[in-house]
Symmetry: C2
Subunit: 342 residues, 2 copies
């Protein structure tokens, strides 16, 4: 390449990178020759020299050996999409990596930093990365004293309390919860918020927990919840498929939604706009989270490293649909007033 243009290697580098003191004529000449030859500078050599690869790792903690969990497809897809866009806009690319601590693949790729979705406490991957001096930003408040560079999360407590209030406003007398058995912060914070709310308003907690990574267990748990003697008249489901599962279970028990049962679930899926009836959902705004996570990470890579972790809370959005619409007061103040109600 340098020979073809009749200049030195230095001049080529300077011309292509816009550095050095070169007249425009030389710059143009070099670039023209490079174009003609289809010359592309070696990314590996540049990385070796500069120490920057332009690559960001993206990791999801998983239950099996699959790189994503099953329940949160829409969330992950949206989040990853936004993260990819944001990274590309700043000249970085995303590398999908497993959360396992097997170093095989990890050490084979030069990363400038890593995004970790929903890390578990004392995640060995995170510790290793931090030890290497790489910035790590997590989607989800880090459990324990995980030493991440920054994190982004929703205010899950506020979100749950808001939903419970919303359901109570719509006439719910006993609100049930469909939750998970795993120990991640999302499940933990949401369940705790539910219990606190119950205590505050004096309602007995009515909830079923199931392993969220099992695609079949959700339907069973939904059925169990509605089969209970103390059947709730409103349910909030923490996971994406809970809406359809609860709707199907309600149908089996002859419960009308929202008349006999109010329904809300946490989901990013658009199908809940077209179900019968449409179901109220809580959106965690994965696009905003994905974008924020990447921005924080690239800031840490390029800018000054701040001492304490940067924390960023993204508001949630409750998309109210028919399934949680205020129903006529029954068995409350007014006594049964017509046979049609029977």
């Amino acid at each position: 390449m340098a020979a073809a243009a009749g200049v030195s290697i230095t001049t080529v580098s300077d011309a292509l990178n816009g550095k050095g003191r070169l007249p425009d004529a030389t710059r143009r000449h070099v670039r023209e020759v490079a174009d003609r030859l289809g010359y592309r500078p070696s990314a590996a050599a540049r990385t070796l020299r500069t120490g920057k690869s332009g690559l960001i790792g993206l990791t999801v903690t998983t239950y099996g050996d699959e790189p994503f969990t099953f329940t949160e497809f829409a969330y992950f897809a949206e989040m990853a999409r936004a993260a990819t866009s944001a990274a590309l806009a700043r000249g970085y690319a995303l590398v999908i990596l497993p959360a396992t601590s097997r170093h095989d693949v990890w050490s084979n790729v030069a990363l400038d930093g890593t995004v970790v979705i929903d890390p578990s406490d004392h995640d060995p991957v995170v510790s290793e990365l931090v030890r290497q001096g790489l910035p790590v930003v997590s989607d989800g408040r880090p459990a324990g004293s995980l030493p991440v560079t920054a994190w982004v999360d929703n205010d899950h407590e506020a979100a749950v309390l808001g939903i419970l209030d919303h359901l109570a406003d719509a006439g719910a007398r006993r609100i049930g919860l469909l939750t998970g058995t795993s120990t991640d912060t999302y499940t933990h914070l949401s369940t705790t918020a539910y219990l606190h709310w119950c205590e505050r308003v004096g309602q007995d907690p009515v909830y079923e927990a199931y392993p969220a990574h099992d695609p079949c267990a959700g339907a069973v748990a939904a059925d169990r919840l509605l089969a209970r003697p103390d059947r709730p008249d409103a349910v909030y489901g923490l996971f994406d498929p809970n809406g359809t599962d609860l709707l199907a279970a309600a149908r089996r028990y002859g419960l009308r939604v929202p008349d006999d049962l109010l329904l809300v679930c946490c989901s990013e899926s658009t199908v809940y706009a077209s179900t019968e009836p449409p179901i109220t959902t809580l959106s965690l705004k994965p696009r905003r989270i994905g974008t924020a996570v990447v921005q924080l990470l690239i800031d840490a890579i390029e800018g000054v490293e701040s001492e304490q972790p940067v924390e960023q809370v993204i508001p949630t959005e409750l998309i109210v649909r028919t399934s949680s619409e205020r129903r006529a007061a029954r068995r409350t103040v007014s006594p049964p007033r017509s046979p049609e109600e029977g």
Copy 2:
């Protein structure tokens, strides 16, 4: 590192890579020191030296500036998941890259090969990659004379014909199609197959086409299809959200599914198992496709380069549910036989 272990650089490299003629004692010693120091060989230097990065590009041709299209979320998520797994199992990692021909990011990452999902004819990205001598494997039969190394696809024609026959068997007299306006091979092949089938059985085609990347246009198109004077009594929808949209439209027009309207759509989503009624779906088996694509690519990277493109066809699966269940024959051979039918 070499100094810390009291050996030469060569010995370190040989010990860690299991090469050279070293006694086990030396090997163990070097590895132990490496572990103690937390030493990781530089991926950039290795890539520069060996010419192999262990990175595979993953590209989706898109309509906007987002890295994925909106309609096929579940398909892409599943496909990407399987591809990631397969790549990791063979020691490779996936890099998500934009389908734009802006070289910024592309030339900043050293790739061993690339997977292209649904490439358009004369895709500039593919041409550029092939010119660089990189193997390219596409998900989706390449349009035109795109010079890919290998490709994987379903037999879309056979799939559509199978569905139409299935619907006809279930009693459909006039089958409609919900299709897209874009020119990708999936849409094109499926629509053509539908038109051929109509010609063969002597039915007038009844279809609506809409821009599949627009999340709202689908619902409108579904409505339009059922509002036609020559309203079909069965519909196949080519895209994921068509099921819920058609179901909602049917409800608006007071059509019972499957009694008045048979429904099938192409989707990987599990929600269709829990809708009312459950909807028959065609699965393109994205997991198998993702795995196959990556295997072919890595074979091409590591093995001998075969001259002609390797083609692999993955069978589809029709998951039959209530929405396309055989209905009682009406207005067919047997005359109306009882008032209950009216």
